[in-house]
């Protein structure tokens, strides 16, 4: 029973308490670059989740074999291998999505979320816990990208997943699609998350 509880908390912390984007503030590069449309944010999130899951599993299995002096280059080679596999797989089976994501897929290699989780978790913990951690972090990352890209797509284009959602005399805010729009949205969402966390904390204090 205890074992399952540990696994569950490894998984769940990535969703909110240690959410990679809104709490840990890592993996900012793809976060800002690809979130102008929900479709791209979602595909990026899933590709990252797969890479994270695969690398965490392999690195956790071989954690005692890799000498700690050369761990970073070893991790990068392993991560790069999986990213290349994802990229080839997309090109062969989903040429449309591959075309849409363009250069962002190879850039998953340098997403510090992946390297960060190997360093902080997978290299120190048994495989089943590393898998739970990777899944939680990956899903937390994907959900955060969806939240960010929803705001930007709705305000910047008046659409959500390509469907018109704002009608009438609405002029899209082009700035939301550009890099400054990404920073604005991220900052506001970060503020919102902090306000919610503070409110929850205060309520807990009052109860005590």
């Amino acid at each position: 029973m205890r074992k399952i509880n540990v696994l569950f908390s490894d998984f769940i912390k990535g969703l909110w308490q240690e959410n990679p984007i809104f709490r840990l503030l890592i993996g900012m590069c793809p976060t800002l670059a690809v979130t102008s449309q929900v479709k791209n944010g979602l595909a990026m999130g899933l590709a990252t989740t797969f890479t994270l899951l695969a690398s965490s599993t392999i690195i956790s299995i071989f954690r005692n074999f890799i000498p700690k002096e050369v761990r970073i280059p070893s991790y990068i080679v392993i991560i790069a291998t999986f990213v290349t596999i994802v990229s080839l797989f997309l090109k062969a089976n989903f040429p449309e999505i591959s075309k849409e994501l363009g250069p962002y897929v190879p850039l998953i290699i340098v997403n510090c979320l992946i390297l960060g989780r190997q360093e902080a978790f997978a290299s120190k913990n048994p495989t089943h816990r590393a898998i739970a951690d990777a899944l939680g972090m990956g899903i937390g990352f994907t959900l955060s990208l969806i939240a960010l890209s929803s705001v930007r797509e709705v305000l910047g284009m008046g659409t959500l997943l390509g469907h018109q959602v704002i009608f009438g005399n609405f002029r899209p805010w082009i700035i939301m699609l550009t890099p400054p729009g990404a920073f604005l949205t991220l900052g506001l969402l970060l503020g919102l998350v902090n306000i919610i966390n503070k409110a929850v904390k205060n309520r807990k204090k009052k109860k005590q």
């Binding site: 070893s74 080679v77 797989f89």
Partner: protein, 181 residues
Amino acid sequence: MKQSFKMIFSLCLIAVVSAVVLAKVYQITQPAITANEKKATEVAVYKVVSAANSYKEAKIGEIDIFKCYDENNKLCGFAFTVEGVGYQDLIKVMVGVSADFNKILAIEVLENSETPGLGNKIETPWFENQFQNLDLQNKITVVKGVPQKNSEIQAITGATISSEAVVDIVNNKIEELKKSK
């Protein structure tokens, strides 16, 4: 000494395993990737010369071109790819022109990495359809606002550079083809 040997050994081992795995994956996926690319070209040629029933690869001067034939095996137009620098990276476009080289039949943007939501609207039907039946006697020009002449294209709001880039690379290639014809 022993420590550094261990470091070198494990790094080499990881690199070798990774290389073998990647070579295998590449070998497996390569046929599908080549087929996808070929199919994409085929689809694009038939899209920009809609009357075409078959096509043959040929050359005009130094330029690769697809000669398109209709059902009666009559030449009905040419298709060719053009590429040039856009706002961020290469833009690749398939262009279809009539057999007498007097007008553009249609264009199709094949590849671009323009700004999402702004410049990448060059691949929307709204932008591509503007090129249909454009007169080739004059150079194509970009205008802001509603086009007045049959050689004008309306720029995408907030993406004038991308719009102009497409027009420029199409213009240049047509100029080149006209000369070497």
